[in-house]
Amino acid sequence: MTDIPTTGAAGPAPLPAASSAASAAASSATSSAATASRDCPVCGTANQADSTFCEACGADLVVAARASNGAQPPVDVSDGTVLASATPQTAPAGEESPLDVGWTGAVPSAAVVPVADDLTCHACGEGHIVDGYCDHCGTPPPNPRDHLVESPTAWVGGVCDIGRRHARNEDAMSLSAGEPAGSRAVLVVCDGVSMATDSHIASLAAATAARAVLDQPFPKGVGTPDAWAAGAGRALTSAVTRANEAVAASVVEDVPNPPSCTFAAAVVEDDVIVAGNVGDSRVYWLPDDTAEPARQLGRDDSFAQEQMAAGVPRLAAETGPHAHSITRWLGKDAPDDLTPHLTTLTATPGWLMVCSDGLWNYCSEAEALRTLLTDAAARLDDATPTTVAQALVDFANEQGGRDNITVALARLAGRGSSTTTTEATAAAAPVEGDPTDG
């Protein structure tokens, strides 16, 4: 849960967070008059006729439309394979959906495509999804947005989950990575502000737009670490600008509470990390070597952070009445200065994490988080970034799951190979640029 205070930190209490259910009209009117809209077969939301993906849940409407043109999805009778999903296609240049922007060849998201091309009801297994509901038991299909898993490579993965208390997942995550491990990865997490309208659309648009910027390799400049850091910082700032434009563009008309979201991103390029954030989504660096401190890269733009700066202990500040009020955010009503809190760091063996407050609400201290992650990884037979992220999401849900939870991880071996740990550790006392706040 993330709120925007109505005034400065010392002002009156923020408005109560509007639950998504409250903003939904208690009475709804559905007209069957022919309209130029494309209804999402997964969640039922009416989208514009030329939409290629659902603005509410992200389902691929092109595949769904193809599947529903006939009465049944095209099915290969020999083995029941749905053919429609076998040939994902990008839109022509200039007509890409936000999901297509920054297309890098493979579909890194395992979650965007699937449900839409299988219209059999998941709940009863007997009916089919028509107008967003099963024609046998009436159950809507699970919203793919409620639980997203991405594993672009073996060393990068993430889980974005609705949690247990919210009616809608307003977190969004966008990841990409290349081989070999440590060469290049982009991890973006955006958390929709729950008291604003349609922030789930805003956060997805922001994360997708930011990743499109960050997928471009950074300029090498003169080849010095400082030159790289400067270029990387400019790229992150540019990503924030693009994400902010995408959020603003996600609403057509003026609404009283325009959609808004936070921003946290980390880019790995040849084992050097650059991180930046606006709002209270976080980037953590959690090195394996306990001699090296685990730490949050950057800092929150939040009332709690301001209190901590004024000397209030972390626990008190983060559980106080205004703890989730953020002081900067992306959106139409965003503050003028959106320069992200930037940090650069040369990786040693360890975990790079980008997460929303749905996780850190239950484990804020970097050292505690490192312990939590290490213990969770140790319990797994197959500890990959994705399975560890899932374990941390499970942890947050077990603690109550009061908010949407997103955990994105990159497993880094650090400069040099893992066989030269000693040397690497010695050499790699983090070469760290000072946080370069704007």
Partner: protein
């Protein structure tokens, strides 16, 4: 071509453990008026596309003046029938006879200046005589319509002035049942000697209206209006289809506007989860339906489709509304009753207590009548239904509308009671 739209008004939020979902579905037609079709604009109905039968009470009780007025009313109706429409005039007493067309012409003839003139002359020959057996009239009407099986739009007007004493209630009911689906029938009672519940039973089963004509002189205007309304209906063969999920129970389906009509028992099975309810012919108009579904409760946060309500023409769905259910622990969402659902629920209760109150009064149970009509006064007052309050005022003395304290009015006229009864099922449209 007619366009139909369907809208749903409901509060989809249910509390923890909540099971019952109520929704008002509004079906609106545009371009359904017969006047909008090319044939009618040229002044000619497609020959054989519609058939009209006028059933006139010629029992002895009508008397010379009554039959003469009924004849004038029939002529006024004939004047409204579009040329080309098949028609027939039936006189009814203890039995039923076709007055026009003449026997050698068959049971129905197309309307023209010539046949209208012949029919008007035939009506002059009507005389009052004999008893009342409406079942025989309806049966003859059905047999007349059966001679033209290709005609989809079939409508009759039934006029009576008395109690159906010429046959048993069972035989009337059997005759009505045999006519269900064969034609639609609007019924009118003239004077105060007929029984509202008896005639309402016929009109309701045959998808028509029922009303009171206080004096014979007012018949002509009423017949003209009824026939004009029938002529304007360009869409027949329509039905409401209601799907509910496996495991759900459809509690009721009611038409709630323009008149109250419980459709629940008229269900025909489309498939195990879907039932169809006939809705008769449509003009350019809007009708509201109240659908109530009982679902097995789901856990908080879950959502499901509670009902899919479709309007279909000739078996093809042309409009659809989705009724949803979402379980929530937010009281501000779940305790709210949709205004349309509340208003029509109130109007349905109002109609019920008026009818029960009048029936109790007729049966001499004055205390029951007082309590029921008192509740009616209270409901009418609460909903600002001034028309019903003024009708009730003619039957009861209102001491306190707020608490529903009333006294039965001494010497209330039979006509006033009957007009309250017939008006009870007319609802005022809930505006959005």
């Amino acid at each position: 071509m007619a366009d139909f739209t369907a809208e749903v008004f409901q509060n989809e939020f249910l509390p923890d453990g909540g099971t019952d979902v109520h929704a008002i579905v509004r079906v609106t037609s545009t371009g359904a008026s017969a006047g909008a079709s090319a044939g009618a604009s040229a002044g000619l109905a497609d020959p054989g596309s519609a058939a009209e039968v006028i059933l006139i009470d010629t029992s002895g009780s009508m008397g010379r003046r009554g039959v003469q007025a009924a004849g004038e009313a029939a002529k006024a109706a004939l004047a409204e029938i579009v040329d080309g429409t098949l028609f027939s005039i039936v006189s009814g007493n203890g039995t039923a006879q076709i007055v026009y067309p003449y026997s050698h012409q068959g049971a129905l003839v197309p309307m023209s200046a010539h046949t209208r003139g012949e029919a008007n002359r035939a009506i002059e020959g009507l005389r009052a005589n004999g008893g009342t057996a409406m079942g025989t009239w309806l049966t003859l009407a059905r047999q007349i319509f059966e001679t033209v099986p290709h005609v989809t739009k079939r409508h009759a007007i039934l006029l009576t002035d008395g109690v159906n004493e010429g046959e048993t209630p069972q035989s009337l009911q059997a005759a009505v049942r045999s006519c269900v689906g064969a034609f639609q029938c609007d019924c009118r009672g003239v004077g105060d000697q007929w029984r509202v519940d008896e005639v309402r039973g016929i009109a309701s089963a045959l998808l028509g209206t029922v009303d009171l004509i206080p004096a014979p002189e007012e018949m002509a205007a009423e017949f003209e209006a009824m026939m004009r309304a029938s002529m304007s209906r360009g869409v027949a063969n329509s039905e409401l289809r209601v799907w509910v999920p496996q495991g759900a129970e459809l509690l009721f389906v009611k038409q709630v506007s323009p008149t109250l009509e419980d459709l629940t028992s008229r269900r025909t099975v489309v498939n195990p989860l879907t039932g169809a309810y006939p809705t008769g012919a449509w003009s350019d108009e809007s009708r509201d339906y109240h659908v109530a579904v009982r679902l097995p409760a789901r856990t908080l946060g879950q959502e499901q489709l509670a009902a899919r309500v479709q309007f279909s023409l000739g078996g093809d769905p042309v409009a659809q509304a989705l009724v949803k259910a979402k379980w929530s622990n937010d009281d501000s969402l779940t305790t709210r009753i949709d205004p349309a659902v509340a208003a029509y629920t109130g109007q349905a209760e109002l109609a019920t207590v008026i009818q029960e109150g009048l029936a109790a009064k007729a049966a001499g149970q004055d205390d029951v009548a007082t309590s029921k009509l008192g509740r009616a006064v209270q409901l009418a007052d609460q909903t600002g239904n001034e028309e019903m309050t003024s009708r009730l005022r003619k039957v009861v003395e209102i001491d306190d509308a707020d608490t529903g304290t009333v006294r039965l009015k001494k010497g209330a006229s039979k006509i006033d009671e009957m007009s309250l009864d017939t008006a009870s099922t007319k609802t005022s449209r809930v505006r959005r």
